[in-house]
């Protein structure tokens, strides 16, 4: 039986676990499908990581400096065909000589863009593989600071259709896949309630608050939701 929590006391959800129960990876890629390019990128990234560490240790952290005229002078317009071409930047900007549209960035100094170093004619590793490779090379900046897709996958729980009345103390929780597909709502315990058995003893609630089948209130279909497969085959 649920009992409403005193609203003036902190909700346990604020410090709750949020651990997901599914092992759905979301990447949907075979381990060997991109083995060769993966190994190549791994080799490059490991070596590049060493170079990065060396370079970053000697460059003096330009990110900490306030933007100056010299910094801003490095700007090059990417070229918007609808923009007024002769409009000069104000403030501290001092643009360099005009550069043909679309040719601006590449080859000018060190680009940070992964696209500059990927051969589009060859299979590209998944995002998770790129992140893992960067991390293994000691690089935790850029997308190397992102968690890989699947770190906290959608939770699988009991379906609670819209036309089923929701018992007090429970929550209808809606989720979406990384490629934008809606998942049928699942039943969760509300963080605003505490639950007791017939003898008045507190019932421990799963850390992720997803209602397991043996704790489900009566009247529900008792069916677990399915996570739709990825539409894109990547991105998880």
């Amino acid at each position: 039986m649920p009992a409403h929590r005193d609203p003036t006391t902190p909700s346990p959800s604020a410090d709750g676990g949020g651990v997901r129960v599914s092992t759905h990876s979301g990447e949907g890629r075979g381990a060997w499908r991109h083995a060769l390019p993966w190994l190549a990128v791994a080799a490059i990234a490991v070596c590049a990581g060493l170079g990065y560490l060396l370079m970053s240790s000697t460059q003096g952290g330009s990110d900490t400096a306030a933007p100056s005229v010299a910094q801003v002078a490095a700007d090059v317009d990417d070229g918007d065909p609808d923009a007024p071409g002769a409009m000069a930047p104000a403030a501290s900007a001092k643009p360099r000589a005009a550069v043909p549209a679309g040719t601006a960035h590449r080859g000018e100094g060190l680009s940070l863009d992964l696209a500059d170093y990927i051969d589009p004619s060859k299979p590209v590793p998944s995002t998770a593989e790129i992140i893992r490779t960067l991390n293994e090379a000691g690089i935790h900046s850029g997308i190397g600071a992102f968690n890989p897709p699947g770190t906290s996958p959608p939770m699988v729980g009991l379906a609670v259709p819209e036309d089923v009345p929701l018992p007090e103390g429970y929550v209808r929780h809606y989720q979406t896949t990384d490629d934008g597909q809606d998942i049928e709502p699942i039943l969760m315990f509300s963080p605003d309630y505490e639950f007791f058995d017939a003898a008045g003893r507190p019932i421990p609630i799963p850390e992720n608050r997803v209602v397991p089948p043996d704790m489900a209130p009566p009247g529900l279909p008792g069916r677990r939701v399915d996570i739709p497969p990825s539409r894109e085959g990547g991105g998880g």
Partner: protein
């Protein structure tokens, strides 16, 4: 004579590093997507320009595609209805970019997009990757905790947010009607509820990561909104929109997500105390954003970092960006709300931006 085989890992690494030295810095991803909301019965077109990192990019864990309905495009749909016009949403974004990178390589380098004479809205977001990287570095620490990286992230954020606003003010098309920044939600709020490996110099104890990080993100968010107030921008408070429930969970008489919002003119200390102490019991991980006491929505993708979205994706990533157009999903918004305004992370952020939409172009 010594013969060293190129199969030696050391030499092989050196050879690759020499040949591909620039790749050493390759860790970000340009994701530029433009989408025009093509409203029937009009050919008048205005532009929203959005600069930022993976949030405005609509990153979805793919290096090829990005969400079509990322927050600035959602905002454009609201504008299309209000102005009865086509709205071109131009998202110039770089996933993984720190604030200095967004400033220099997107806002400054790609300023021409906001200089077009049909531009009416300029929006940007940044600092999330400064925070993610500082957090990652802190988590790796052992021995005595060093907070300098976290402080540097806040200072860099302040520097480049202010510089970005100044630059946009000086360079955007003079007819721009709205300049707006979105601040940061806290991704991984639950996952960070663990102890550090390092120990605090004063207490000798390990510190709770979330308790440690929260004041830093609060300081970043305060200054994003405070600089906005000072420099003629609006501030979409994504922290409040994501982290607080849309009902009064603590009985203080306020909707949690309203109570968490930045208050114009308050001090940094007052804001940080309100977020990290007074209202902290109302903060919840955005994986379960409560729109009522009985309904919650997952605002965060499976990487526990980026916002969920509705609909499909557009090409934007390793093989270049894309542009396209299509009819709006919704042509009118009763009360200023889309039917899905609170069901996805990007829809929520886009709605938060739209609150400040001007009545006319």
């Amino acid at each position: 004579m010594t013969i060293r085989s190129l199969k030696s890992p050391r030499v092989l690494c050196a050879a690759i590093a020499l040949l591909l030295a620039p790749a050493a810095m390759a860790n970000t991803l340009n994701q530029n997507v433009s989408w025009t909301i093509d409203r029937s019965g009009t050919s008048t077109k205005y532009r929203v320009v959005a600069y930022g990192d993976s949030i405005y990019a609509g990153y979805n864990g793919s290096v090829f595609n990005a969400a079509q309905w990322a927050a600035p495009t959602v905002q454009g749909e609201y504008l299309s209805a209000t102005w009865a016009a086509d709205i071109e949403t131009v998202r110039r974004a770089k996933s993984g970019a720190v604030a200095s990178d967004v400033y220099q390589n997107k806002i400054v380098a790609e300023r021409s997009y906001m200089q077009a004479s049909n531009t009416r809205v300029v929006t940007f977001e940044m600092c999330g990757n400064d925070g993610l990287q500082a957090r990652s570095a802190f988590k790796d620490q052992t021995g005595t905790c060093n907070y300098s990286g976290l402080n540097a992230a806040v200072n860099n954020c302040k520097t480049y947010v202010a510089a970005s606003m100044d630059y946009i003010n000086a360079n955007a098309y003079p007819g721009v009607k709205l300049k707006i920044i979105s601040n940061l939600y806290y991704p991984g709020y639950n996952a960070d509820n663990v102890s550090s490996n390092c120990t605090d110099a004063a207490t000798g104890q390990r510190v709770n990561m979330r308790t440690t990080f929260l004041p830093y993100i609060a300081r970043m968010n305060y200054w994003m909104c405070e600089y906005a107030r000072q420099k003629g921008f609006k501030c979409a408070d994504s922290f409040a929109q994501y982290m607080g429930a849309d009902y009064d969970s603590n009985g203080d008489g306020q909707i949690d997500s309203d109570a968490l919002r930045y208050v114009a003119g308050e001090s940094e200390a007052a804001y940080v105390n309100r977020i990290t102490v007074t209202l902290r019991p109302t903060l919840r991980d955005a994986n379960t954003h409560f729109v009522s006491s009985s309904s919650s929505f997952d605002y965060i993708q499976s990487d526990d970092t980026h916002p969920t979205y509705s609909g499909g994706t557009r090409s934007g990533g390793l093989f270049g960006g894309s542009s396209g157009s299509g009819a709006p999903r919704y042509t009118s918004f009763a009360g200023g709300y889309s039917p899905i305004w609170n069901r996805y992370g990007h829809e929520r952020m886009g709605w938060a931006l739209s609150v400040y939409n001007p009545a006319s172009p």
